[in-house]
Amino acid sequence: MRKVLLYLLLFSLTACLTKSKKENGNTIKIVCTTSIISDWVVNIASNEMQIIPLLKTGIDPHVYKPSKRDLDILRSADVIIYHGLHLEGKIIEVLKKMEGPLIINVSQNYSQDLIIRDPSFPASIDPHVWFDLDLTRSAITTITQNLSAEYPQFKDELDSNMQAYFSQINNVAKQVKSIISSIPEGQRTVITTHDALSYFGRSFGFNVKTLQGASTVSEFGLKEITGLVDFIVDQQIPAIFLENIISPQAMISVQKGCKAKGFEVKIGPELLSDSLGDKEDQNTYTDMLLFNARTIAEYLR
């Protein structure tokens, strides 16, 4: 019995120890935690940088479960870029303490006045900051500066890419603004289940009303549902929107409630919040902004 155990132990040790070493190619491997950060980095990076998203498109950071592959990805990374503001949960703690690769927290230079906090509990931060363009620029600048410091040979390329990307973002922002302004002023109210669009609404001038806070953990009660139904009927709001990470049941129930009160409200498609989409018109950061704006405008006009 003991011999068998010993063999097993030895076998497992050798099996565990024979691990492939880190490749020493010329490409710089940059691992980004979310699909949104990945898209930013793709736009500013040099060709010699390989960008790997840890969470692919369509995966919500709240429910992400790592696999063995993810450990290998982090191990092989030269640079790791994460979002911070508790978006990635406990992984942030791991990344903070990790040694070896360059680790960039994109939220490190955020202007604190721009961050939306829970008024009754200021330690709670709404992490969906990519819908605020100033904060997005700050994040991209942080990434560029850190990469340039680590790899000075790419500094000029990174800087010019960033400037080009900024003008692209500005362009898209103008389009988004004009799409939103096509909605009559009194009808600019977007209703969703959980509070992911506050920054979006603040940046582009519409109201956001939700059933529950930014957390998908908390639950709304009956008072919130009846309140929302009354609000929709009262304001004659034409449409409400789904989200890809929460059961559609809540919005269906609101719709039925409105119907029982004699008001028909449409249910719009899923808006993108915590991750990019996988369709052609949803899979980059700028497309996400445009997609959300177009969808909102189409249903609220």
Partner: protein
């Protein structure tokens, strides 16, 4: 080296929780792991509301305190209220979990405070956080779990006789003047500490699985407590190693794979020892 640390971590969790799991099995409290994974929520939320930070340590303390409170409440319900053990456990953990959700909704509206987000560690990422003590560099989780393992070994062998008597035949133990309540409390307290600390290192599912499956497998093979411990430790090793291998093949969650492999082990033993009829 990563693989070695992961298998070692799995092994430490398996042997610490498994040894207690085998006493829980005899006391019909096997669902304790699952119950605790839910019941610690209010502890985490309160710790967060007080400290205002998501640093692991205060949350862990909050969770441990709530774990102890859970065992106390379960014992109160089953002992004073004469409710059968599983019902007492179910009532207490769903109640506490509900309190936790209410607290989050009412007071921490913007924050994602959920055991999964803020407390539970990830076995896959264990090798990434390393610290050196005594000139040896090992993952933080391994240090913590080594400490836990030593603690559980000490407690287990000190309490061995008392737990053995009170687990197999609590009426007899009571009749010869053994204070069964004290033994019960100490076991449950040790369980909740071991469980919550392991949650923090490797996540919930692995702990829930390792708390019961190896113990149940051992129980099918032998009824002798000491032999059960040996079987559990052997399995702890096989399960962690097999699970790690499976996760490599499937490219899947390591803790999930270990849970699946534990079940495969159980199923094999079950099919061999199955009663006909």
């Amino acid at each position: 080296m990563d693989g070695f640390w992961i298998v070692l971590t799995g092994f430490l969790v398996a042997s610490s929780t498994g040894m207690l799991g085998n006493l829980l099995l005899l006391r019909k409290m096997s669902m304790m792991g699952d119950a605790l994974s839910h019941a610690v929520l209010p502890g985490i939320v309160i710790a967060y509301l007080i400290s205002g930070s998501r640093a692991s340590f205060p949350l862990l303390i909050g969770a441990i305190i709530m774990g102890l409170l859970t065992t106390f409440l379960i014992h109160f319900f089953s002992n004073k209220g004469k409710i059968q053990g599983d019902a007492a456990m179910g009532t207490v953990f769903t109640f506490l979990f509900a309190i936790g959700i209410i607290l989050v909704t009412k007071y921490a509206g913007q924050a994602d405070i959920d055991a999964d987000c803020v407390l539970h560690g990830e076995l896959a990422f264990v090798p990434l956080q390393q610290t050196s003590y005594f000139g040896i560099t090992a993952p933080d989780a391994v240090w913590t779990l080594l400490l836990l393992f030593t603690f559980i070994q000490l407690v287990f062998w000190i309490g061995y006789k008392g737990w053995l008597l009170t687990s197999f035949n609590s009426e007899f133990a009571a009749s010869i003047g053994i204070k069964t309540a004290i033994w019960h409390y100490s076991l449950m307290a040790a369980t909740s500490v071991a469980t919550v600390v392991s949650f923090e290192s490797v996540g919930a599912i692995l702990v829930i699985a390792f708390l019961v499956v190896p113990a149940a497998t051992a129980y099918l093979i032998t009824k002798d407590l000491k032999r059960m411990v040996v079987v559990i430790i052997i399995q702890g090793f096989l399960n962690s190693f097999g699970g790690y291998m499976l996760s490599n093949i499937l490219n899947a969650s390591i803790s999930g794979s270990m849970a699946v492999i534990s079940f495969v082990g159980f199923a094999i033993v079950f099919l061999v020892t199955k009663k006909e009829g």
